[in-house]
Symmetry: C2
Subunit: 155 residues, 2 copies
Amino acid sequence: MNAREVIFRLATRADLPSIVRLLADDDLGSQRERNEDPLPETYYSAYEEINKDPHHELIVAELDGEVIGTVHLMFLPSISFQGGLRAQIESVRIVTQHQGQGIGSQLMNWTIERAHVGGAHLVQLTTHKSRERAHRFYERLGFKGTHLGMKLSLK
Amino acid sequence: MNAREVIFRLATRADLPSIVRLLADDDLGSQRERNEDPLPETYYSAYEEINKDPHHELIVAELDGEVIGTVHLMFLPSISFQGGLRAQIESVRIVTQHQGQGIGSQLMNWTIERAHVGGAHLVQLTTHKSRERAHRFYERLGFKGTHLGMKLSLK
């Protein structure tokens, strides 16, 4: 366990390079991100869109002034469930050297609590079928793998 | 095949009772919706929120002036994929007596085209693991079931 305190907070524009580094730091991410200095402008325009939209929260975990984790929380209005608000979690990452220290669980629980306070009746996410450690991780947090997640590339 | 022309269009507030009837008309939906006259106010407030948000499109299929299908298309800004825009499809329904006539495929293809024109690089959806006919349906449209969809109820 790490005795130093991890802070969870909304991301700022200045966190974007750290977030992209986290997203690029795995097999899938390294193929699809461009972790360059300066960052491609598309990252900044996506950040601005997320930042101005009250349905989106880009979140980071910070330790000793450094971003070591991230998650994107979105609120999805829906007609189903009597017009109920859903929450969705995307892009969950913890930097490699801080994995296995409980920080991911803390980050998820902090994010789930925000979803709850924000009025969501449900939190949903998808994770690649091959990521079995992630499945166990989310199951320990209370998630149930009831659905098949399907994707169609348009490029 | 049905020779009469099915129209695909954005839903209006007046379509809401028909949409809720569609959502309520299956085993899962009947337990969670309230298909009453008048509809509970929560449906209308969710509709207003969806309608004013440019990232959301509530879509209906209409035949002879009657709503026979619905889908909810959402655009999700994201940092991942170089700040790429994703599309997500929720709440796909075709009225029972018009299933198996190709209308669902037309509705999906119309919606996927809107996602494409709207700038999305990917369309994603989840479907209950038990709905094997739905899995085949989405696979025929080009979707690949690469992910596990997980849910956590907050109620």
